[in-house]
Symmetry: C2
Subunit: 480 residues, 2 copies
């Protein structure tokens, strides 16, 4: 029998909830009255419960508002360093990101992986499978010939209406007919680049950027000009301006303004506005990858680059892959003045998407369940990111640097020199752990001391052990 | 009350079945003994039934085999003319098939269309929607996280196993890992061409060929070298050989060996073998588009070009779009020695297909229901093609030429000069009829007097009226 006093036993339940992330930093605790009713306890017990957790550093009292969950520990980590703006720019032609990714994939297949932290993806449990299954099965009963009828080439109208409606919150005014549905955001980026460039052209991208984009550039015969990018505020507009002045041949700019991959940076509105105006003035098409925006901590949507677009110079690419359903390949593109060309390219490249998944997504997006799902997803991811960051702070060698992003699925970790992310990747593999080495995120040799960790998995004891193991492996690289 | 003798009443029922296509040319009638048992009639009545239909020209007796359905009328049409092998070859660069197709699409949208005969697609009723819906719903119940789990990049293994198994019948020995699943055959063709060519290269194609392929070439900056192609035996290997000798820069050959679109031609085995060997000797990659093969009249599968491939020089592209489910975007590619490169390009272009549809297709393909479906589909399409051809023979101006293909979804109709397919297209539009003018099937001005008609729709009275209307409109073009 539990001999702890009642308030302690209840406090432990709330502590578990905080540790599991179902109560996250900033969340309001139930009020003292609610606690009394919920647990059928006296005022004294409810107050003792709250004060105990406050004393332990888990809650903070705010005058006239009640108790809120506070972060129990401050991360003893310095933020990732800002890029050196004086870095010379170098358009890296076809320098073999494909070869590097192939090596990475092949290595990953050589060892049995127990814990995969290399991706930028959420665990299936984060997504509303029960509701989606229900809608999908119902649709098959209602539209019996859905699987045997060819779809609409530019995308299902119901989905385009749902997307256009949602775009309003990001400050975009789009007609459903401005939108084309694609096989994921990666196809949208392909189409955007094919519409505005030709092989040999130079494209400005963030540095670091996700290897998926570098692969697209390489596969289309394009050169990447890597622009210094802040782990906090994203692409350096100053550096881009300089690059445009010194390289008069930049044919497009590709940017992930929100929760950039791998940095997690978010561009301030003023930067976004300046970027849109700069590209417009210079006549350079601006391609926006908006994959992660819905995963920010705040329920208040961030403004898309396209919000400031007055001339159709911004091509907006996005996806439901990370926010709604990783098993449905639904992306979309609003291609501005390249709409007709992108439509033709999409038709010639892969025809239409499947109606079935489009209708399923549309129906879910039009329900209140979608907002509820997003709130829950943001909440869970925030807890997972913070738990992962705390584990890194606890287990990684002193001098490790980290910014906990305000959303998204990943952490970008800077290791103290001379620890090498590539060597850590190789050592981790032999321990059954897969991580993404920093060298995958650039064509240049700039991110040797970095790794990217996936925070999309529930922060289980196994994940915590994995982080501890990684920390030990990293320490082995330090001189003794 | 019906006063006709019993044998006549029964004969009418069989006649209806023949007219509806459920008994098609070449089908065996039930034997006399079976007729006696089926209809509970005397030997005399059963014999009278058969002899009556024989006298009317619907059945033919074969010694010791019984009665078979024969075609009641011979088409009073000469076959489409063979191409002139002396035609000068001309690599047509970016000559604007996209613009022509855009015009075609835009025109089609200007008028309310009552009858659309412009496509190469089957009516939804031709496909097994009930069985697919059942499998799909069951899969969602069994694999509850299917919609929220990311798929495998090279394609679902169950589907690849099913495809590899089926490929055996076409004479191909493929491991499941030799196969990559794509978003339809059109994506497979894109990937194949991207793997073996670069912009500016010249590609040999059939002439005429489907505008989808010409669009792919134009969108990739490739030039089409159109090789004369027989309406009966497909690509002229002599002409291709000549072209290779006079243009030393042919970087790939794209061929639809079976039921070529729009011709419906089938290459004889000897031609296929010679083509594979020629391309191998010349070091020219050979891309095979196998979209329609399962739609041939015969249940005996035709041998794929890849059957003769000993060096991995043949890239086999195919699709389930026309044979299993037009609503599921499932294509595949066996890219021979370009496998790794195509896999990387597919990953960079659109990532993986949705697992849901892949698993649904795999389960259906592994059941006996798939073969039953294909037999029924072949049977129905044969009837529809023949009915359409008869209507053309009956209603189109004298001098119209036509080969009824041994399978597939379309008829390629040659109109007597000076009737213009483009003008007929415009006139038909105003009558609410959409057809595909021959000029869409070439970058050259060679097929002005042709049109393509879709036979994928049930041959209803409405379709018959439409053909009659088209015939009248065509006649208006003749000098009086």
């Amino acid at each position: 029998m539990d001999t702890q006093p009642l308030y302690r036993r209840l406090a432990n339940r709330y502590l578990d909830a905080i540790k599991a992330g179902s109560l996250a930093r900033g969340d309001k605790m139930p009020s003292v009255r609610e606690l009394m009713r919920l647990h059928d306890v006296s005022l004294t017990t409810a107050l003792q419960l709250c004060r105990h957790l406050e004393n332990e550093g888990w809650l903070e009292a705010r005058p006239r508002s009640g108790y809120f969950v506070r972060h129990p520990r401050r991360l003893p980590l310095a933020p990732t360093r800002e890029p050196n703006p004086a870095l010379p720019l170098d358009p890296a032609a076809f320098v073999g990101i494909q070869a590097r990714v192939s090596h990475f994939v092949a290595q990953g297949q050589r060892y049995p992986i127990q814990c995969n932290l290399s991706g930028a993806r959420g665990a299936p449990s984060l997504y509303p499978h029960a509701q989606l299954n229900l809608i999908a099965s119902r649709l098959l009963r209602k539209h019996r010939q859905l699987l045997v009828s060819a779809g609409t080439h530019s995308g299902n109208m119901a989905l385009k209406v749902a997307l256009a409606r949602r775009a309003v919150a990001s400050g975009m005014t789009l007609a459903p007919t401005d939108i084309l549905v694609t096989h994921g955001c990666i196809e949208a980026l392909n189409l955007a680049l094919r519409a505005v460039t030709k092989p040999g052209d130079t494209i400005a991208v963030e540095s670091p950027t996700f290897y998926g984009l570098l692969q697209v550039l390489e596969s289309l015969g394009l050169r990447a000009l890597e622009i210094p990018t802040s782990p906090q505020t994203g692409l350096s507009i100053d550096a881009l301006e300089l690059a445009i002045r010194s390289h008069d041949s930049i044919k497009a700019v590709v940017v992930v303004p929100h929760l950039q991959n791998p940095l997690g940076s978010i561009m301030p509105d003023a930067h976004k506005q300046r970027l849109v105006e700069l590209c417009m003035q210079q006549g350079i098409p601006l391609i926006e990858d908006d994959t992660y925006t819905a995963l920010t901590n705040s329920d208040i949507p961030l403004l898309a680059l396209k919000h400031w677009d007055k001339t159709g110079n911004v091509i907006h690419c996005a996806s439901l892959h990370k926010t709604l359903a990783p098993g449905m390949r639904l992306g979309w593109i609003a291609a501005g003045r390249w709409h007709d060309q992108v439509e033709m390219l999409k038709y010639a490249q892969s025809r239409h998407n499947e109606e079935w998944s489009q209708l399923t997504a549309a129906e879910f997006m039009n329900s209140a369940a979608y907002d509820r799902h997003l709130r829950r997803l943001r909440h869970t991811l925030r807890a997972q990111r913070e738990q992962m960051a705390e584990a890194v702070a606890q287990y990684f060698p002193a001098g490790t640097r980290l910014v906990v992003p305000e959303g998204g699925l990943m952490l970008w970790v800077e290791l103290p020199e001379p620890i090498s992310g590539s060597r850590l990747f190789e050592d981790a593999l032999q321990a059954g752990i897969l991580i993404a080495p920093g060298t995958l995120f650039s064509n240049l040799i700039r991110f040797e001391t970095y790794i990217r960790l996936n925070c999309g998995l529930p922060f289980t004891t196994e994940v915590e052990h994995t982080i501890r193991r990684l920390g030990k492996l990293a320490e082995n690289h330090l001189p003794r």
